[in-house]
Symmetry: C2
Subunit: 217 residues, 2 copies
């Protein structure tokens, strides 16, 4: 029985589509390709820097990934464009089902556990108006997901044993990292992707956060 | 001054193009897309499993990545096709410039340092006829590149301090992992890609292994 639910932020609660739209406004017709390349490199750099033991905050990694992705696609990137795109991350919308679903889960502790550094995560959560018992960043650990100490941070801060925590992410590998650590894991498979082959299975695979309510009953 | 040169294997000494060709023979017109998706997932799984502390040998990770990539592209994969594709990895050709370049570097110790597990790496090197002072796999460390202990393994086995080792890879992040550890790093940029933004720069960026000879003089 889950006494707390811990949520990933980007792509799970917050819709990053507006970032792609802003990319497309700067480079018409290239927004989709750029935002995909940017996202892929952003994740790669989190994993590579973690393994290299060269952690840098997510805001910096995200800038570095954008610079790489623009160069790879032959797009000129000005400092103004960089700041505008980074600014989008501070005012992302929640997915349409998020507010109603969270409000029906308030019999449990609710938390965010994100790769986002506090300079990105705190303004975002504040402008959303969503209330959580804890908003946790990997930044204090200086390592990114899916390292087990990241998930352990949530258990420590919520003062719960891992068996009593459910973790919710739209990234399958993130859900499986949580599962490997010992949480229950719920994968919000918004993109209808295959299950990652990492030696674990999510406890449930759902299309929306609303569908999670039925699983939790 | 480098007393030893340590080479990555796949994509650096050995050309994986024949794997893409074999993919295309099974799924005509899809070989390029599949081999790209397979390679991307293979690397992701090495990083994710390393961070999760759930190491599995590269041969297993490579199979898991292929299964994922086929499902993502809607391609049926039989056990026979899986084994045929894995078999390709045991008989990859070297790039045209490899044999001549290595033969001109024999005043130094020469080694391979690879993510490949011994069941993949040893038959490959044997059939190539190439001679090395050491063929090293991450397998004994149970973690993948770019963790620093991987590069340290080469220094330990070659009995050289890291300042005297040059590392050569076609993967920029791998070269930068070696640089971060303390090796000189030479990036063979076969694909004309941008430099990765990981806080380090390669000591040289080259088009072929032959070009490395001039840098070393």
């Amino acid at each position: 029985m889950n006494e707390a639910l811990v949520f990933d932020a980007y792509g799970t609660l917050f819709d990053v589509y507006s970032v792609a739209q802003r990319c497309d406004s700067f480079w018409p017709g290239k927004g989709a390709a750029l935002s995909l390349a940017w996202r892929a490199k952003q994740l790669e750099y989190t994993w590579q820097r973690s393994l290299m033991r060269r952690y840098r905050p997510f805001s910096e990694v995200t800038r570095e990934a954008l610079a790489y992705a623009c160069e790879a696609l032959g797009l000129q990137l000005t400092a103004t464009q960089m700041e505008a795109l980074m600014g989008e991350y501070l005012m992302l919308a929640t997915y349409p089902d998020v507010v109603a679903a969270l409000n029906k889960m308030r019999n449990k502790k609710l938390a965010i556990l994100s790769n986002g550094s506090p300079d990105m995560l705190e303004p975002l959560v504040k402008q959303s108006g969503l209330k959580f018992d804890a908003v946790l960043s990997v930044d204090e650990l200086q390592i990114f997901k899916p390292a087990p100490q990241v998930y352990e941070l949530a258990a420590t801060r919520l003062k719960l044993s891992k068996e009593h925590i459910g973790f919710v992410s739209s990234n399958c590998w993130d859900a499986l990292g949580a599962k490997s650590f010992g949480f229950s894991a719920y994968w919000i498979n918004r993109a209808a992707a295959p299950v990652d082959r990492l030696g674990f299975r999510p406890d449930a695979i759902l299309k929306t956060l609303g569908d999670l309510l039925e699983v939790l009953l």
